[in-house]
Point group: D2
Chain length 278, copies 4
C-alpha cells in the first residue's frame, strides 16, 4: 500500500552519503517528494530530511539506511501524523490562546493532551475548548516538590513535546533532563539580549528601538537552549514598558506557533546548541 | 471630579491652532497627558489628538474648542471607554479567533455585540466564547437581499465599528454607505498588489518573494479604502500558494488586530483616501 | 589538480535524478561542498545547484551528466570566477554607487566592464573609480536609435550581465530579446504594486504604510519579469513622496546588490516567470 | 527677511509648556512647519522640536523662549544648514563608502572635514572622493598616545560630530569625555546582544536566526550608549559567521547612515541613556 514517510538522518559527515541514501530510495522505487540536506562543516555533521512516498515498510527502510550511514547515525523513518503535546502556562493567554485557536481549527497538526498551569486564571479559557486543564499551584512548595506533581501527571500521559506557552517559572535540571529536546519555550526577548526576568522592562531601560521574541528548546542554561525561531517588532521612545509588552505579545505568540509548526513537521534538528531547520 | 478625555480635531489648517487649542487646555487647568498633531500640507488639513485630564465638562470643552477652530472642524471630546463592535466572518477562524482571544483576555478594548457569518462553520468557535452568533446564509439570494437581513439585524444593535474578519463577500454600495468609516477589513495581500480574489494564488503565480496583509476602511472601490496597517512575510520558491496562505494568515490576524486597536483608541483619522495615525 | 566547480542543472523532473547525479559525483571521488535541489511540482521541473571539488575535467563531467538527465536538461559546470557586468544608469547615484563601493572593495565578485548612462551627471562619480563611463544621450532620438548606439558599444565588450542601476528608460523588445536573462533591473516599488512611472508618488497617493523595492530580470512586459529579491521599508503619514523616495533608495540599492550577488554566484534559476534561488 | 529655524527644547516638564511656547510663535507671527513633542513621564522631562518660519531674530527668539521654560531648559534655535563631521574608520569600506557616496551625491546633509584611520587600507577610496585622509597608526603606542595624535588633529578642525564608521578600537574615557554626545558609532550587533569583540562570531556560535546592527552615541560603557537606530537581517543555519558578517554589513551601513541623517537634522535628543527621536 502506498504510504508517505519522513526520513530524518543526523550523523557524522562522510563521502557519498547523498548518493548512498538516494540509491536506497531509487532501488526501492520510492518517490522523493521533498529533500533537504545540510553539512555542518565546523563539526563535520550531516543532516537530511527527505519525504518519500511509495510502497515500503518503515522498519525495513530504516534498517537498510543504517547499513550505509556512519555508526553514530540517528535515523528516524516516520509517517506524518499528529504529534501529542502538553501545554504549560501561567496567567497570560495570548500564546496559549493562539495554539488553542489553531487546534480548534484543525490547523495545529497536534493533539493537545492537556494544559497545566501554576495559576487558575486560564482555566476558563481552556475549558471553552474542551481541553483538560490542570491547576497545579506552586505556593508554599519547593520547586522540586511542585515539579514532582507535574511529572507525576505528565508521566501518565503519552506526549511528544511540552510547550511552555508563557510558563513563567524556571524548570529544575531534573525536569529538563527528564524531557530532553522535548521542551519548547517562548522567551519574550530577542535572545541573547535580556536573558532572565522581565525582558520588556530591561528593553525599556536600555532604550532599544526593536524588541523581539525567541522560541527555543529548553536546556539547563537559562534561556540558552537551541534557538528555533525569532522575530522582532519596532518600538520607539513613546513606548512604556507595558506598551512594549503589549506589542511584544504578538511577536511571542506568532514565533512560538511558527516554531511549534516546524517541530511538529519534524523540520528541526538539534545540532549542539543550535538548530538546523529544513 | 477628575476625568480624562481624548480631544480629536480634524479641520482646515490655520495659523495659531496649536496655540489657541493649548490655551484652552491651559486656561482650564487641564493636564496634557499626550499630544500629537499633523498638518497635511498638500490639502491644508490639520489633525490633532490630545489626551487631557482634570476637572471639566466634556460638552463645554467641545463648545469652547469650536470657538477657536475653523468652521469645518470636526471635533470630538470623548472619554476613553470600550467601543462596541460587530464581527463579520465567513469560514476561516484565524482573524476572528485572534479577536476572540483578546476579548476573552480583556485586552481588546471593545465589547463584541455579535458575530455574523454567511456560513455556520464558525458557530462552534464563537459559542465557546459565549458570544451571540448569527448565521445569515447567502445561498440563492441576491447580494441586496442578503445584506438586507444583515442590516435588519445590526440596525437593532448599538455599535461603533463593523470588523470584517475575513468576510469573503463583497459589500454593496448601499451597505458601505450606510456605515461609512465604520467598516474595517483585512485584505490578504500587500495592497495595492493583488486586489480582488485569491491574492495568495496571484502572489504565487507572480513569484513574489514577500507577501503581505492590509487592514483598511471599506469604501465602494474594492480594496481601495484608506489603509490603516500593513505587514509582510517573506516567502520563497518552496512555498506553494497554500503555504503562502498558511504563512499569510499570521500576518492577516496580527495586522487586523493591530489596526483594530488603533481604531478603538481613536488614533486613526481618515484623511481623504489615506489615514493619519497617532 | 584539485579544482572546484558549480554544477547547475535545470531539467524536466524524473525519478532518480538525485541518485543518478550524485552517483556520478561519487564514482569520480568528488566532494560535495554544497548541494541544493528543488522540484517545481506544478510544472514538473527539477533544479539543482551543487558545488563539487576534486580532480576532474569540467567538460567531461558535463558530458557525463548529460547521460543521466532528460534530453531537455540545461546543464552548466562552471568554475567560480568573477563575472563581467555592464552597468546602466541615468542620474541617481545610490544604486550605482553601492555597486562601485563593493567593487572597489573587492566584495562584488564581478568586473565592471563599463557604466553607460543617458545623462552625464554620474560621470564624475564613475571616473573616481577609474571605470570607463560612456555618456550616450537619448535626446532627439528614437528609442531604437538610442539603443542602437548602446548595443554597438556593448556588443564589442565581453559581459555576462547588464545591470540597470536606476536606468530610467524603458528598453525596446529588440534590446531585451538580444540579452535575454542577462538584464537585471531594480524597480522602486514592491512589485506588482505600482508598476510604471514614479511609484513613490503612486505609493504616497495610495497612502500605503510600507514601501518596497524589487530586483528582477527584465522581460518585455514592463516590470513583469522574474523577481529575484524584494524588500520593504515602513513609512507613515508624515512622509511626503520625496521622503518616501529618500527612504526607499536604501531599499533599492540593498535589494539590487543582494540580487546581483545571488546572480553572480549562480544561485538564481529562471523558472518561467519566477525564480528558484539557492 | 524670511527664514526658517529649528527650535529644540529639552527641559523639566511643566504645565502649559506647549501653550506658552506656541504663544510665542503665534505672537511673533511665525508659521509652524512641523511640530513634535514628547513627555518622558518616568523622569518628568519635556522634549520639543518645532520648525518655524517667518521674520525673526534667532537670538531674540531664544531669549524669549527662556522666559517661559524651566530654569534647566536646554534650548537651541538653529538654522538648518550642513553640519561638519569627522569620519573615523579602520579597514572596512562599506559604512564609510556609504557615507562617501551620499556626500558625493549631495544627499548627506553634512560636510566631511576628513577621514581618520588607524590603517591605510582606505586611503585610496577616500582620496577618490577628494576628501582629506589621515592615517594615524596605533602600532607600538599606548591607547592614550594614539588618541593624543588624533585629538591634536581634530582639535584644529571645526566639526559637529565624529562618526565611527567601523572604527575598530575602543576609545579611552578621556577621548569620549572630550566629545560628549558628539561621537556616533555603529556596532555590528543587535545591542545589547553580543557586546564587544566579533559579534558575528558570537551570533554564529549562539545560533541566532536574526542578526542586527545598532547605531548609538558613544559613552564610556562599551556599546552601552544611547541607541539611535537598529535594524535586523534574517539568517539561518547555512550561514557561516563570515556569511553573517557579509550579510550584516548591509545592515550596518544603512543603520549608521539612517542614524546620521537623524542626528544631522537635529531629530535626536539624548535622554539619559536613551534617545527621543522626532
Amino acid at each position: 500500500m502506498e504510504k508517505r514517510a519522513r526520513v530524518l538522518i543526523d550523523c557524522e559527515d562522510a563521502k557519498g552519503l547523498v548518493y548512498k541514501i538516494s540509491k536506497i530510495f531509487y532501488d526501492r522505487g520510492l518517490n522523493i517528494d521533498n529533500n533537504r540536506e545540510f553539512v555542518d562543516k565546523e563539526h563535520g555533521r550531516f543532516f537530511m530530511r527527505t519525504v518519500v512516498s511509495g510502497v515500503f515498510d518503515l522498519e525495513e527502510l530504516l534498517e537498510e539506511l543504517k547499513t550505509v550511514t556512519p555508526a553514530d547515525a540517528h535515523i528516524r523513518v516516520i509517517e506524518p501524523k499528529d504529534k501529542k503535546i502538553i501545554l504549560m502556562a501561567t496567567k497570560e493567554s495570548h500564546a496559549l490562546g493562539d495554539i488553542l485557536i489553531r487546534h480548534a481549527d484543525g490547523e495545529l497538526g497536534a493533539e493537545i493532551a492537556c494544559v497545566i498551569a501554576n495559576h487558575d486564571d486560564l482555566e476558563r479559557l481552556v475549558r471553552r475548548f474542551d481541553i483538560p486543564f490542570f491547576h497545579i499551584p506552586a505556593d508554599g512548595m519547593s520547586r522540586e516538590e511542585h515539579e514532582g506533581y507535574i511529572m507525576k501527571l505528565i508521566n501518565e500521559l503519552e506526549f511528544d513535546y511540552i510547550v511552555l506557552a508563557k510558563y513563567m517559572r524556571i524548570l529544575t535540571p531534573t525536569f529538563v533532563r527528564a524531557y530532553e529536546q522535548k521542551i519548547i519555550n517562548i522567551h519574550h526577548s530577542f535572545l541573547p539580549a535580556f536573558i532572565g526576568a522581565n525582558p520588556y522592562k530591561q528593553a525599556f531601560d536600555r532604550g532599544v528601538k526593536i524588541i523581539g521574541a525567541t522560541a527555543h528548546y529548553v536546556t539547563n542554561d537559562l534561556d540558552e537552549g537551541p534557538i528555533i525561531a525569532q522575530d522582532v517588532i519596532p518600538v520607539n521612545h513613546r513606548f512604556s514598558w507595558k506598551d512594549m509588552q503589549r506589542a511584544g505579545r504578538d511577536g511571542e505568540k506568532i514565533v512560538l506557533s511558527r516554531a511549534l509548526a516546524l517541530v511538529l513537521q519534524d523540520r528541526v534538528f538539534v545540532n549542539g546548541n543550535k538548530t538546523v531547520i529544513f
